[in-house]
């Protein structure tokens, strides 16, 4: 298993509640765009944060947006209050988001998820409709382009 996808299997192995969103979700639906980070939506509860820390513990997770990239604390309580975690690890970048623009918080996102098998692991991925809505809501040029591509895919799949 190559590195980026290994992050997903680690989260799954540690029973982290999460839904794959963003560009990697687009790849599942047929997008040709290449993305360098793993974006997931996850509840940032103490229990889920504990599982996230365990899943990432041995791949050197650090805060990506801080200038000196400090390591992620080992104690979930010290992450209380965070809405998003923008991380870099030895296996690549992962953004853990508690809510998705245009869709909502984790509970709503999980209602718009499909399950796919990846190397024998069942992973939840945001469905194409919610993904389109999130891209449109973000509204940046690259997101609108991604939305146009996904709308074309959705129409083609429905035929």
């Amino acid at each position: 298993m190559a590195s980026t996808l290994d992050i997903l299997t680690r989260l799954n192995r540690h029973k982290v509640e999460f839904v794959v969103v963003g560009g990697l979700a687009g790849v599942v639906h047929g997008s040709a765009l290449v993305t360098e980070d793993v974006d997931v939506c996850a509840p940032l509860s103490q229990q889920n944060l504990t599982r996230i820390l365990a899943a990432l513990a041995d791949i050197n997770p650090r805060f990506r947006m801080s200038p000196h990239r400090p390591p992620l604390p080992g104690d979930a309580e010290r992450l209380a209050g965070y809405k998003n975690l923008y991380l870099i690890t030895d296996l690549g970048q992962i953004d853990i988001l508690s809510e998705i623009t245009g869709v909502g918080a984790y509970e709503e996102v999980s209602r718009h998820a499909i399950a796919v098998e990846l190397a024998g692991v069942r992973v939840h991925v945001m469905d194409i409709h919610a993904l389109i809505e999130s891209k449109k809501a973000l509204g940046r040029v690259k997101d609108l382009r991604a939305a146009a591509e996904l709308e074309a895919i959705r129409d083609r799949v429905r035929q």
């Binding site: 990697l24 047929g30 990506r64 098998e117 382009r145 591509e149």
Partner: protein, 72 residues
């Protein structure tokens, strides 16, 4: 949620947007897992090419200004 009824010809719109729909047609012949593995192969290539550029220039050409640290 909007529906495709809002975009009666999204395929045409994607072409007009400059999107290579032949790539989409190919990718839709693959399973979701095959798409992710293919993406991973491309990502490995992108990273190798990026490292080649860094080795050539002696710095990351995405961030020629040393005061602007790379985010990745």
């Amino acid at each position: 949620m909007s529906t495709s009824a809002n975009h009666p010809d999204a395929w045409r719109a994607a072409i007009d947007y400059g999107i290579d729909v032949s790539q989409i047609e190919y990718l839709l012949t693959l399973t979701p897992e095959e798409r992710l593995l293919r993406h991973e192969q491309f990502l490995t290539l992108v990273r190798a090419m990026r490292q080649a550029g860094i080795d050539y220039y002696g710095f990351d050409p995405r961030y020629p200004d040393p005061s602007e640290p790379p985010q990745g």
